[in-house]
Amino acid sequence: MTTLLLEFDALHYRYPGADTPALRGASLEVRAREKIALMGRNGSGKSTLLLHGNGLLRPQQGVVRWQGAAIAYTRQALRILRNRVGLIFQNPDEQLFAATLLQDLAFGPLNSGASEQEARKRVEWAAARCRIEHLLAQPPHTLSGGQKLCAALAGVLAMRPTVLLADEVTSGLDPWMRRNVLSILDEHVADGGAVVLSTHELDVARHWADKIALMEEGRVVHVASPREFFASPAWRARIGADLWLLSNATPTHHAPRNT
């Protein structure tokens, strides 16, 4: 059994003003060198769970632990947690804020107390890993969607986290860019890290992940290998793998058309 890194233990969370809780006892363990695909329907609580991993949300019940120790939610504890657990957002435009990629990538390391020299070193390393060294002098708005995503990924990697939480970062990418992003995540795992990737893409879950964690109504209801998931008709149905068979070509209401 590999080292237990991050642990979500029976988390409950309700957003202010919401009728229903986003998390109702969600539990998940993340171990070193694991690649976990976090699946589930829209609104099942995937993003909320990931926000807890980086300390951006504090559970109303339950505990988040790092290597067995509960997170204290003090400024110092959060700083340490965010150096260990990096969070990549779905929309890179909301992560990239600085005038150039160099400035943006250095933001995290400088916040962590790195010297300018150390920050530059980390930026160079992260940019090389994400294949964007040639873009460091560019402002974010001149980049393509895929390049922005790689930049957002590099901005988090520059903080040298052990666990990466990635919120639907492969959706909307072409197959080449998706392969590129997945290979960056693979390299992170090969270095001893772990990745939790929230995704709706069945092929990513099936071929890239070691484990699939399925969320339903704010709980992680099943964690198993992709092989187990896809071998079981019941679990396969619950991740939506057979839905294409159910497409209904007969319209229930005939709409008038403009000709």
Binding site: L51, N54, L56, R75, R79, R82, N83, G86, L87, F89, N91, D93, E94, Q95, L96, F97, A98, A99, T100, L102, Q103, A106, F107, G108, L110, N111, S112, E116, A119, R120, V123, A137, Q138, P139, P140, H141, T142, G155, V156, M159
Partner: protein, 247 residues
Amino acid sequence: MHRLDAYAHASRLRHVHPLNKFAFALTVIALCLVLDRPAVSAAALLWMAGLSLLWGGATPGFVLRLLAAEGLFLALSVVAVAVQIGPVGQGGGWSATVTPASLAQAGALLLRAFACASAMNFLALTTPILELAAAQRFRAPAALLDVTLVMYRYVFLLLETLMRMQRAQESRNGYASWSATMRSAASLGSQLFAASWRSGQRMEMALQARGYEGGALPMLAPTYTLSWAWLAVACLVLATLLGLAHL
């Protein structure tokens, strides 16, 4: 704005310290104003446009379009100098006259204004505006610079959101009639505000995720190199302008 920014970031003179370029452009403007000679203005116009094109890397089409837009504005402004309007006799009539002297004065003024605009174009085409602001880091309050920096990024995000929303409205005939245009524009305004508010909140969350705890945004100081070639050319330009002062 997008293209101007793109040229500034891609400029071959970007490595020169922004304050050097700023001081150079200001000196050229000051010489044009103080020496007040058409030959100096013409030389400054040619030098600055030439440097923007040949060294800065901007395309002739873009520089010409920029100058044309400024030229139109400047030409309209000097009409009042070229045309002299005054009362005729005691009858209460008015006349508009153009004399060779007033035309020459308007021409000289236009040329001088063009030269100054060209110097500012040179600065804008070779220096990203934020680098200029960052170079003042030790003279301006950090909070002001941080707001400038985030706003700069935000302007582009807002423009992209605006374009996306406008296209979505247009694709559903949102601008097909006067009333539809009014309706669409009103909803665009309110939605843009809501979208930018949400986007701002998510951006704040993303900053926190990378360890931001409030206060000034930590930034790497940009590095610049001392270019002897640039210094030589800058001195040559200023010497030319001073040399032409006697013509």
